[in-house]
């Protein structure tokens, strides 16, 4: 069981790069990269709000639950 991050798909759909998103949400590229590659152990609500605001989406569009 795990949570997957669908940031790659969303960025592709919005034709946006990770660097652009990092600038928009004011989060370091390194941290966004950790989130994108699924290496993050937790995500703050403030980060989620900023990303949803920048990409115009819902938290459910970014995160998904996967059963093994």
């Amino acid at each position: 069981m795990r949570i997957t991050v669908k940031l790659d798909d969303l960025l592709y759909a919005r034709r946006m790069t990770l660097t652009e998103l990092a600038e928009k949400v004011d989060i370091t590229l390194a941290n966004l990269s950790i989130l994108k590659t699924g290496k993050a152990k937790a995500i703050r609500f403030s980060t989620l709000i900023a990303i949803c605001d920048a990409l115009g989406c819902q938290p459910g569009d970014i995160l998904a639950f996967e059963k093994d």
């Binding site: 989060i27 941290n31 966004l32 950790i34 989130l35 290496k39 993050a40 152990k41 937790a42 995500i43 703050r44 980060t47």
Partner: protein
């Protein structure tokens, strides 16, 4: 005194303590070597051997040397354990100076310090028991030495317990730290 300066001073004191222990250990090693040679009676002049036999109330010279050698050996082991404790403590303080003390390695180091303290107690207990059994009563009376018993200090045992508790706290802290670092 700033925190870093306190750490630096402590590290310096630990270095000094390690040097003193190493020096003491070297002296004891030389003493042990000397005892091993004298124990065979090779280097002890006959008049000295006779005087010693008289003073030791007939206890064989080799036996006396064996007891002293055992005490010296225990001293070497205790000093080596102390050096290992100081070394681990120095490494912990070094990581604190580096600004990142909450790491799993420090929890392991603290647990190691706890076990080394237990080992010190073990060696002391073994020595006290061995001495109590080996030293003849006549010699004990002659030396007026009754320090062959083990003195279990409640404070010492509490310190060992605290070190183990602290190790667990450090382990938990390092896990929390790792989780925080992976929080975006």
């Amino acid at each position: 005194m700033t925190q870093t300066r306190l750490f630096t001073v402590t590290q310096w004191l630990l270095n000094a303590a390690m040097a003193v222990c190493a020096f003491g250990g070297a002296i004891l090693c030389l003493t042990l070597g000397g005892l091993a040679v004298m124990g065979t009676g090779l280097w002890l002049p006959p008049e000295a051997a006779a005087k010693m036999a008289k003073e030791m109330h007939g206890v064989p010279q080799g036996y006396v040397f064996l007891i002293v050698a055992l005490a010296v050996l225990a001293g070497i082991v205790l000093l080596a354990l102390a050096i290992l404790i100081f070394h681990a403590l120095r490494q912990i303080i070094g990581s604190a100076i580096g600004g990142d003390p909450f790491i799993t390695r420090n929890a392991d180091r603290l647990a190691r310090i706890g076990w080394l303290l237990v080992a010190i107690y073990g060696v002391q207990f073994a020595m006290a028991t061995a001495m109590g059994m080996m030293v003849p009563a006549t010699l004990k009376d002659h030396l007026k030495f009754d320090g062959f018993g083990m003195d279990f200090s409640p404070l010492g045992l509490l310190a060992i317990l605290l070190v183990f508790v602290l190790a667990q706290i450090f382990r938990h802290g390092s896990e929390m730290r790792a989780e925080l670092e992976a929080t975006v």
